[in-house]
Symmetry: C2
Amino acid sequence: MSDSPSAAAEIMDGVYSALRAHGYADLTMQDIADECSKSKSLLHYHYDTKEDLLVAFLEYIISDSEDRIAARADDPPVDRLVQFVGWFVFAPDEADREAFHIALLELRTQGPFNERIREQLARSDRLLRGTVADILADGIEAGVFRDVDVEETAALLVATLDGARTRQITLAGAERDAEGEGYTREVAEAALRRIVGPLLADGVELPPLDAAIDALRLDADEPGSDAAADRTE
Amino acid sequence: MSDSPSAAAEIMDGVYSALRAHGYADLTMQDIADECSKSKSLLHYHYDTKEDLLVAFLEYIISDSEDRIAARADDPPVDRLVQFVGWFVFAPDEADREAFHIALLELRTQGPFNERIREQLARSDRLLRGTVADILADGIEAGVFRDVDVEETAALLVATLDGARTRQITLAGAERDAEGEGYTREVAEAALRRIVGPLLADGVELPPLDAAIDALRLDADEPGSDAAADRTE
């Protein structure tokens, strides 16, 4: 974008709001224009097609995730791992965030048919798995994790947390009526206990999940981080 | 359906083929009619709307999964658990099956907006989690599994396997170029080693994953099991 960074950020916020409100399949450039109070012709000036804009949006939120992960790179490895797990937990009052992730899930179903979307999904996958692998490698070096296959553990954790999220958001309503806390919370705790727990060196304890989630939510509430309040897949 | 069971099965096969070929979002009754060599008016005679037909299809494949699971209820618990894990593994030559699951994933994104679809998703979720919980409970009683929280383990395993499947099918192409075996295979093995392994009582070993997958594929090749060759979510 040749405009000021804030104009670009406003458009990205508009995409975020429009995806939440309309989903992906039926989304129009007009919906996005309405959400960011820009004209449709201005959007088309910057982005030829809706696909161009959505690919730019994916690039934007993945880059934002990279920045957020990098900003925590000096935290202790056990803290970073619990933060990573906490990132996938949906609190009961996060209906907007669930709506956004339903739209992202729709977008992900386009992966097999759209190379540019697939490239972004693959980039996100490398980021997520690479982040867990880095945390584990740092922790092994620091002596807080046992020596473990970091790539395997990363794939296992990312699949587990992604699956819990998909199940929670697609079952929303049915799920919530039946259970108190939802899939993401239940599985995050189980993953910490059953997958991460056995990796800890003797005497090392994990910080509480709730504190990590609270810190993430404060982080997401910072001004200007609206579209960036979340990560993509 | 008031027709013969085989007419109903033919229509369900048609839905299966049409979802694979066209996906969910753009699917029409005509696409389904073409795939099962019925007239569109015949389909509408039985199913008022496309939604009615798709809900019936979900009911059909979930019931089929129930039957398949019930048919194995007398197998040893460790065998059943490895079969369950193997069910989620996509071999490299299963592009058709991946295409079907992409369409199912699209359908799942309608869960929050469509109560009838959500009811079927919730039923599938209860089936999957209940199956793992039953296997574990049987195995604990038989002394082959340690005493473990069966509900927590079931939620963890189902989320893990579902997440691996979603990542494999949405990254198809990008994923396959980069790696030999794909997400589902990698995560299935990791889940057996890292989640299931610690549950085994002393001296108990898991049967090999490959043998379980081969048996499942033979099963799916039986005549008349075309639409039923897979399970839904």
